[in-house]
Structures are given as structure tokens and as C-alpha cells.
Amino acid sequence: MSETAYNNRTVEGFLISSLVWGVVGIVLGLLVSMQLWEAAFNFGQYFTYGRLRTVHVNVLAYGLGLGAIFGLFYYMLVKLTKRELVFPKLARAHLWLFNIGIAVATLSLFAGLTQSLEYAEFEWPVDIVVVIIWVIFCVNIFATIIKRKENQMYVSLWFMIATAIAVAILYLVNNMSIPATLTKSYHIFTGLNSANVEWWYGHNAVGFLFTTPILAMFYYFLPVSTKMPIYSHRLSMVAFWSLIFTYLWTGAHHLVYTPLPDWLQTVAIIFSLMLIAPSWGTVVNGYFTMESDWSKLQSNYLTKFFLAAVTFYGLQTIQGPSQAIRVISSLIHYTDWVPGHVHMGTMGWVTLTACAGMYYVFPKIYATTVYSVKMANAHFWLVFIGQIMFSLTMWIAGIQQGAMLKMTNTDGTLAYTFMETLAGIYPYWQLRTVAGVVYAAGMIIFIINIVMTIVKGRNILASQTAKA
């Protein structure tokens, strides 16, 4: 097997793993969405909402999300450095370890082993595995970039480097803990610092897993798949540096109106507002890139994936900073508005971009075309509609509950009991489950399309081998 073919198999392995974990995570997502409006959907100790919601988040963030990032990064890395990976076998070991790690981590969360830190739930033995996985990844990325055969590093490589560095720092610091037993540890930071470090981590885990890696994909797959060059290279430089500088200051906007010192909250709010500029730097760059030829929306099925993805990213990065402002936070914090916000990012921006990347990569690996453009279009519209329904119901539910919780009677007492505000959003939660089903249907069509593309590609390979 040639070196290229070997690396392509690794890339394919990551992408397929990502889709398998994606199915697990989405099915669990549907179940937890039902548990919210009907307690009878909680089954026994291991399938209660408190555990499953964490499993859902982690399987999708680290299984689907990280799997797609690893796979697509290795693919882009080879193209952008114009050489094969320096350590191809290490990349293959990385693939195996990644899947074993996600499996063990998932089981540990089902068992209730959790640090109770959002996005950092894994207990310390799993953390050690995660660190090993990340070190392997960094070794391959940096070695291949340093030994590259293309002098200039393209934008996507900048974002890859920033991702590798930032995640390493964030993960190591926030997961420092005092191990009590093999399965239990306590955060090394106490009280206010525990909260502050966790949300410095939590917000930037989103920043450097769901923003910078996806931007790396966006800057690469948009031009290569649509043949439209990036509008402004200078703009992408400005956007890159200002983004990675500004992001790290914003974590405490998750702690507005908590006992955290006011200055930390205020600094976080100010930097959150400033973050609009670098985010929209990329949004503007994306729009102007596509503006060079709008007919591509009709002639190239992937263009609309990028257009919708970057639009969701643009909305997301206006909404996020708004939520940081005290007056808005006081209404929507702790309500469903926030999960609505998060899902626009993950289901809209992240998944659409990663799917577009996969639609590009799989046919390239097999030197063929995608199995069905019609199915890809159906996939697009289902996830697009599913995601909009999903977030709209969450936003309405959040504002309604937030407003009901704040309402007072003329004598100054509260207008609604907590239970009344909760029962008031059950209908929206039921609609959200429907939205989730629509979205899941789109993703199933996507997976079938990818599987059929692989089958088609392998048949072509087989017939070529037979001829030879």
C-alpha cells in the first residue's frame, strides 16, 4: 500500500469513527430531550437524565466533533504541507487510542464517574489517556508542519497550531485534581477559583474545539470544493490573531451575577463584546468569497453548506456576546435559551462545516464523486430546518420561563411557582424533540450517502486492481 493510501485509510478511519459516535450521541440526545418532558423515559440507574445528558454532550463533542477534527486535520495537513505525515503509524495508533479512549470515557460517565466540571467531566485516569492522545496528535502535526515542502503556511495551518496549543494548556490546567481513589478526584482549585478556572476552560474548550478547528476546515474546504479563492488573506490574518487573543479573556461571562468578583465578570463581558469583531472578520470573508460567484449555489451542492454554516456562525457570535451583557444574562441565564444557543453552534456551524468537509474528502480519497447529490441536498434541508426549529423552540422556551420567573404581583410577591414556569415550557420541549427527529433524519441520509460513496469508491478500486 502506498504511503498516501495508508494515510487516507487513517483519515477515513477517523471520519467513520466520528460518524459512529455521532449516531450514538444523537440517539442519546433524542432520549434526553424526551426525558425533559416525561420522567417515565428515565430508565434505571444508568439511564437517568443526570448521567445521560453528560454522556450525550461528551460523545458528540469528543466522539463526533474531535473525530471529525482529527480526520480532516490529517487530510488537510498532507495537502497543505505537500508531504505525507512524518509519523503515519503513530497516526494509526492515534486512531485506535482515540476510539478506545472515547469508549472507556463514555462507559465511565454512564457509571457516574464525573468531575462535575462541564466539558471536563472525565475522571483523572481518563484524563491521562486524553493527554496521551493529544500529545500524539501534536507530535504528528508539528513534525509534519516543520518538515513541510510548501514554504508558506496557509491559514488553516495557523488555526491547527492554535488549536493544538490552546487545548493542551486548557485541558492540563483545569483537570488538575486531587485523586482520592482510582475513580474519584476533587478539583485542585477551591470555590471561586474552581468556578473561574472551569469556565476559563469551558468557554475556551468551545473556542478551540468548536471554533478554531472548524475555521481551519472552513478556510480550506470552502475554496477547494467551490473553486472560489478566499476573498481577503489580510482579513483572515487580522481575524486569526484577534480571535485567539480575545477568546481567553471571556470565560467569566458564564458566571455573571455569581459571587465571583465583579471585575472578573466585567472584564469577561467587555472582551466578549470585542469578540464580535474577529468572529465577523471570518463571516465577512466567507460571504465575500461566495459573493464572487453566487451561481455556485446552484452549480455546486456544497456551497450552501458553507453559506448556512457561516451564517449560523455569524448569528452565534452576535448572540453569544449579547448573552454576556448583565441585563440579558439576568433574563436568559439558567434557562433553555443557552442550550438553544449552543446547539445553533454545534448543529449549525460545526456539523454543517464538518459534513461539507467529509463530502469533499471521501470522494477525493477514492477518486470518484459523491454517491448522490440529491441525497446531499435532502440532508442539507433536513438538518437546516431541524436546527432552526430546535433553536427557535429553545429560545422561546428560555424567554418565556425567564420572564415568568421574574414576574411579580402588585404586592411584590412572585407571580408563578417554579413548577408553573416549568410546566409552561413542556410543549416547547415536545416540539424540540420533533426538531431533533428531523435533524437526525438528515444525518441518517448523510451517513447512508457517505457509506454508499465508500462502497462506490471501493468497487472502482477493486475493478482497477482486477484489470491490472
Binding site: 443526570g50 508558506q152 478556572v197 481567553l248
Partner: protein
């Protein structure tokens, strides 16, 4: 980008600059605060966890309670009305990790300690819908069947450097996980005094009693509030259950006492409803109880 000597063609230099860009904000907002005194406050009234309470907190973490319940009351009028005094920085000196949460699928728990009786918590974990028919909280029957492991809890106490006695550890083997979780519930927020934003006097009662007493529609309104808020503990017909029977309460308690008890609660047994009910609603419940008592619980109120 034709410049071959720019940082974009020098990966090591580029990485170092990126590292610095990432570190500046991290140092100012996450690392520097570690060294500041204002981040390490402690209330004089704050106690360390006992072994039983810590075991309960571990179970709270294991079951993912913090996924649905926050533990931080914001200094906002309606937060304070609903839950009690806003959260203080000095309450968190023993919190590893913090359990403030990020979503209120259920109510905030920062002031739950002492609000209900132990028995209420035990029953509520086994059947939340007994007390709130529309609750979406899961049931936790397995907690009742598992006893604590003293060795494990001891190693947790050691890791956190909390003081304990061996008697305390040995006694754990007789305790169920349910009892531990309830002990933790009762611990939360006890370093801060009970606080109510709305204050209520006996004159208020006199005013409302005049408006409400003898009005059938007031009793009907009172009945509907009673069924959603009171019947879980006092029984659907006031027959009593977790709490005292009310069907014939008139023999033991006058109307003003009933009114003030509903408003202010009984510490450790019954929460006060002064912040979540209007005075009119409370007076309605009292009127409903008076009518029910007169009819000896036969449901004369429609």
C-alpha cells in the same frame, strides 16, 4: 504572502507568538486570580463537611444533580424572593469542585438546607411527583438499597483534608446512600441565615381575613392552591401524611396562626410560602381549611 521570511513560513516562531497571545488573557483572568485574597474568602459560620454529608455530596455529583440544579442565588430581586439570601463568596471555601451549575431545569438548591424535613427529602427522591404532579425529576429508588462504604468515604475525607472521627466513619456502614444525600441537602446553605425579602405582620392577616372570610370563591381559589402546593404533605383531603392532618385543624390552631405558618413556614419542617403566594392566596387556603374543617373533610368546597 510572497514574503518568504514572514512568521507564516516559520512554524516555531509562529507557535511561540500564538502561545503568548493565548497566555495573556489566561494569565490575567484565570491564573492571576488564584493568588488574590478576594478569591479565597471564608464565612466564620461555614462548617466543613461531615463524612456523611460528603458522601451525600459525592452521590449528588455521581447522579448528575448539578446538571439540572444550580447552587447560586443571584443578587436579583426575584432570585432572592424565590430562594433566599443571595450567595456569598465566603460560602465556597470547601467546594471542590464548585457545584453552581449552569441550568435550572429544577429549582436552585443553594438555600435548600433546613427548608424541608429529612423525611420529605427521602420521600421526594423516591417519588417527586407525590409533591409536584408535573415534576420531570427522575426517581432514585436504588439509593435506598445501597449502604455507604466507610473505607471509600474515609479516603475521600483524607483527600480533602477534612477532620473526622473513626466513630463517624464506622457509623457510615449503617447509612444508606439516600440518607447521605438527604444529609447533604440539609447541609447546603446553612452558613447563611434564613432570609425573606417579604415581611408579613399579623395586621396583614386581619386585613385579608376581612376580605376573604366567608367568601365561597376565596375557598375555591384556596383549594386549587392547596392541591398543588400543600396536598403532597398534608394529604389531598387534609387527612395528613408527612405533615399534620388539617381536616380538623380548627381544634388545634386558630386562623391567624394558620395564616402566619403558611407565610413563614416552620424551620426544618415546612417551607414558608410568603414569597411565592400572594396574601390573597394564603388567605384563600386558610378559608378553604376553615370550610373543610367545618365540613369535617367531606369536600364541601367544589
Amino acid at each position: 504572502m510572497s514574503d518568504n521570511n514572514s512568521i507564516y513560513s516559520k512554524p516555531v516562531t509562529f507557535s511561540v507568538i500564538a502561545l503568548v497571545a493565548i497566555l495573556v488573557g489566561s494569565i490575567v483572568t484565570a491564573f492571576y486570580p488564584l493568588a488574590r485574597d478576594e478569591m479565597h474568602p471564608k464565612l466564620d459560620t461555614l462548617k466543613q463537611y461531615t463524612a456523611l454529608e460528603l458522601a451525600g455530596r459525592d452521590i449528588y455529583q455521581r447522579e448528575g444533580c448539578s446538571v439540572c440544579h444550580t447552587q447560586t442565588v443571584r443578587p436579583l430581586k426575584t432570585d432572592v424572593l424565590r430562594y433566599g439570601d443571595y450567595s456569598k463568596a465566603g460560602e465556597n471555601a470547601y467546594e471542590r469542585p464548585f457545584l453552581w451549575g449552569s441550568r435550572r431545569v429544577g429549582p436552585d438548591l443553594a438555600r435548600i438546607g433546613g427548608k424541608y424535613s429529612d423525611e420529605w427529602h427521602n420521600q421526594h427522591f423516591l417519588d417527586p411527583r407525590k409533591f409536584a404532579a408535573k415534576s420531570n425529576m427522575p426517581v432514585y429508588p436504588w439509593l435506598e438499597n445501597v449502604n455507604l462504604n466507610p473505607t471509600t468515604v474515609e479516603s475521600h475525607m483524607k483527600a480533602l483534608n477534612f477532620s473526622y472521627t473513626m466513630d463517624e466513619i464506622v457509623a457510615l456502614s449503617d447509612k444508606t446512600e439516600l440518607e447521605a444525600l438527604t444529609a447533604y441537602m440539609q447541609f447546603i446553605g446553612t452558613s447563611v441565615d434564613k432570609f425573606s425579602l417579604v415581611v408579613f405582620s399579623e395586621d396583614d392577616y386581619a386585613e385579608y381575613n376581612n376580605i376573604v372570610k366567608g367568601k365561597p370563591e376565596a375557598a375555591v381559589r384556596g383549594k386549587s392552591v392547596y392541591l398543588s402546593e400543600c396536598s403532597g404533605c398534608h394529604g389531598k383531603r387534609g387527612e395528613g401524611d408527612l405533615a399534620m392532618p388539617l381536616a380538623e385543624y380548627g381544634e388545634d390552631m386558630d386562623e391567624m396562626t394558620a395564616f402566619m405558618t403558611i407565610a413563614n413556614g416552620l424551620d426544618g419542617f415546612m417551607p414558608g410560602f410568603i414569597n411565592t403566594m400572594t396574601k390573597d392566596q394564603i388567605a384563600g387556603i386558610v378559608e378553604y381549611l376553615r370550610v373543610m374543617s367545618a365540613g369535617a373533610g367531606s369536600g364541601t368546597v367544589q
